[in-house]
Symmetry: D2
Subunit: 331 residues, 4 copies
């Protein structure tokens, strides 16, 4: 089963939201109190997806706001360097800073992030800085949930969603939930539901869907039942090492398993998944194959130091799909 | 042509939003710099509609947040006194104040308002303070646009709209645009369109619809064409002394004329219109008659000192409909 | 014992700080929930003292910031009308509002005030809006403690105090403590002490001196012992109906009694006291007589409806001093 | 000429203010856009002085507020490790972050800093978190000007200054001007003058004294004339490579020259100067010798990568004083 896109659109994907700096501890498996040096990478979920998709060969654009400083200029230059169209990335003129994420890798599965996101430039993207002409050129608008956390970025995203619907651009909603910045579970649920109900494809972990629904231990069937009464026709729900499920409105369900890998850290798994999954869909592969691309890409990135710079090219993914081994799940 | 409501609902109407204080200059036709005394009334569009509907005999409730002070207690007591159910009006515990509107009547058609709305209690209504049990008891949820101007009131309204849709409660959106509090035309248009697209009935002046669409000199046909592709089946657009138009999704258009009256001030016209129009619809009158109720009620209120206390009873309205004269429009 | 001023200065007194609106309930002896009409007066401690002093014949100026609205224009016009030089009152251009005080008179000695002081224009006076040329023309700079509650008004006052010291202008500090706006007792004490230590005359109630010292049930002797080691040479401490004490650095102590009157409300007592006390000092009367002027003026104002409009002329005060009777204190 | 301290005090020096993180680019002489790795150090002027003084053998304490995160814990542990008493460093409980300074070394004399100081934990030190018992134990209270930039840290410092005066603790004011956080030159000048007038020793660059006086190209003689009418008896004004001047109230002037060194970056020069200068004074050396200690320590630190970790021990300083060569100044 293939997923249909409007083939007349020039750009394969436009991502909207944050592009930030990750400062990854160079020393692994120790608390950040003891790490002394950090390496700088571009970060932020939608920036990572844009970079990952561009490296896979898609024609990618980005809408966002950068700080007018050395970090902002580094981000723009890096993204342009991997082939992302940065013509719609605007520069903040009010002194806001670049978001930072210091990562701590205590062990492969105890990772934490020390965030600097108060009043960061990306949250100051204005609705008037979103161009209708630009959005209508894309097959996909990729929306990251974190960009909904605060005004005016929130309204810029709501406007872009409305423009995408008007022009037949498929809306892909990466839930990408980060508790930072949000003021209450109620507020989060209100905006997540608003955008999810207007999206064609919704991707997230089960935990993120729970946040969207403001429930505990939610049920996939309830989730898709509700979303399919609105705009969605494809819902991808990820369950960690158990793998992920893609539910089509047509009734089919697909499951993908995680590939065995040497896990260094868990960061960047979701973004690499999304970029490879969307690459495969846009390239005309069927949903089942696209899920494998997502899984393989995630397995590659979690074994490396960065979330953006480590994004694989297609050959790496295809090799892992061809020769890789699934993580075995008991029971 | 009648408008269908769910007859099993106990409450005719629940209004959500602000309940404030009007301080009306006792001296007319002079600048406020020279007025020395003021009379205090309950004010705020949704409070006025709730009071007006309750005085006409509807079973009315209110969802809102009041300051924990003398003004807040006055409002609750007054509304309860005219029959509004105030069980879902919560009291702010963080020191926010009651909104104030000092009115200046330079001449019958040069009225202005000096607003105190920074950080007022009504804008601090939380989504968690909106009760699903309460909303599902109503035939109508009346939403006032001003309550969308700021978080968390904005999210409380978005949540109530979502709950109303879930439980078959008709959503009536009174655009009620006040520039105060909004930060940009883009932001306003984003939220007005979001709610309008989910509403069953949308009521406003032509100027307010222009704000919603972020256009100048908008066109009624364009407006209804767009809204009818979403949830709306009745759109009322008011054109001042030229009267108002009601457009039904079924294709019919109705027009109402303004009744001659001795205009003292223009405040309160919209709220009295909405309360009598909705009263008539709920009472089973046809749309054309309901428009007359709206016009007659507005004509009565603009000839009196307050916007809330002056709300007429049904007999007054019916007498004016029976004996009143229309304002003549040239051409 | 007389108090020396620099006789070469053209203006007798410049007050700095807030000029606001009082909305006094026209109905007495009932809760504000039940009062329906309000009369508008100019209010705010330093504005009241300026008005009171000007009505007594002093040459008075004012430094402050007014809202750009009807209330702001009313204040400027009223103050100019009673003879205050308003050339250094600037108009806010950022949309800040005029402070409001709704007064409630439950009984002659149970008065309360409902304040609107969030982000009011007077607190936005900038240091750059304080003119050195203007301040040096005055015999007295009257500072009101409330103007220290928030930046940038706080820095504007600290700058004016520094300029006054530089030019031999006597600094009179009216403690005028209002809990509103201050964020902690520590913060209040820090700034009250800073200014008190630089002032020539400090006036306040015993309760206000306790706030300044961050103590409970403070002792007058401790207070003056500390202040006299800094700049002060005259300290006036008021004890309500027990009367007030003036302590001179030279060692003398003077006591004044309250005059019998028909108390309507307690508002405005302090401001009328200060204006008549300073008027008498500047007019060359000795400290003991000046205290009587203060007491008499306060007795007159508490028997009337407003705090500003009711400020007496000199003849009224002198008549009461001549014929009035002291309140008797037991014990 | 020696400088007298109260020898009965147990602690030599208590510094108050910020303790932050420096992230120093590991690659020199290139724009930060191109540097990829950073090393983490403790930073912030008063923390550097405390660390420097402790390494020289003084008995040092610190009053400040740390973020409740990995960076905050790193700072406390590091400072404790070099011998600073951290018992009066409190932990923020409201989610504020550690201040960051990314340093860029374009060339030895083109250094810039990318600051993250919005709402950082150190600016949230409350007056109530300053202990009178602690302050009275010190010979010196070292105040850094940056801690005056925002409330409540501003009031905490003003309170500590007042307590120091009360208990005969010498106040040393390191101007340490950073434009970040301050809202206007007027505001800055108001608080710098307030503290300078109460300080015993004032240290800064000529540029910083200009900021304090809100003038351009100010004059050392004017500066000391004014400060000596208040509390100061020693004023140190630094003129970069031209060396520094120490002016004593007794009329003597001392000059120190800079020592030749291999300059890597200019950061940290002032803090190393202050720590060695104060160490020498407290150790009973005369002012002229103390100036040499300051110059030598600065010369050592500017040749190394960090500002804190590079603080020298006394032997290094004494060796440079013994064998070093002065920078020659023309004319």
């Amino acid at each position: 089963m293939n997923y249909p896109f409007n083939e007349n659109k020039e750009l394969d994907l436009i991502a909207i939201g944050r592009a930030c700096i990750d400062l990854n501890a160079n020393e692994y498996n120790q608390p950040m109190e003891e790490t002394m040096t950090f390496t700088k990478y571009v970060g932020g979920s939608p920036a990572n997806v844009a970079i990952g998709s561009a490296k896979l060969g898609l024609n990618v654009g980005f809408i966002g706001k950068l700080a007018d400083d050395q970090h902002g200029r580094f981000i723009e230059k890096y993204m342009r360097g991997v082939g992302v169209d940065t013509s719609n990335m605007v520069t903040d003129k009010e002194g806001h800073k670049t978001g930072l994420a210091f990562t701590e890798i205590l062990s492969p599965d105890e990772c934490s992030i020390l965030m600097y996101r108060d009043d960061v430039a990306d949250l100051y993207l204005e609705p008037s800085e979103v161009s209708e002409d630009y959005i209508q050129q894309a097959k996909i608008l990729l929306v990251s949930g974190t960009a909904l956390a605060k005004s005016p970025s929130r309204e810029a995203v709501l406007k872009s969603v409305s423009l995408a619907k008007k022009h037949g651009v498929k809306i892909v909603f990466e839930l990408d939930y980060r508790p930072y910045t949000w003021t209450s579970p109620d507020e989060t649920a209100v905006y997540y539901m608003l955008v999810a109900e207007q999206s064609d494809i919704v991707i997230g972990t089960r935990d993120e869907f729970d946040v969207m629904e403001n429930v505990k231990d939610g049920d996939n069937n309830e989730t898709i039942k509700n979303l399919f009464t609105h705009s969605a026709d494809l819902v991808v729900i990820k369950h960690g090492v158990e793998g992920s499920y893609a539910y089509a409105k047509t009734g089919e369900t697909f499951r993908a398993h995680a590939y065995k890998t040497n896990v260094l850290k868990t960061f960047g798994a979701g973004d690499s998944y999304a970029s490879a999954f969307l690459y495969a869909l846009v390239s005309g592969k069927d949903i089942e194959t696209a899920l494998k691309y997502g899984s393989a890409s995630a397995s590659i990135v979690v074994s490396k130091h960065s979330s953006s710079d480590a994004m694989p090219v297609a050959a790496e993914i295809e090799q892992l799909i061809g020769q890789g081994e699934y993580v075995k799940i008991e029971g």
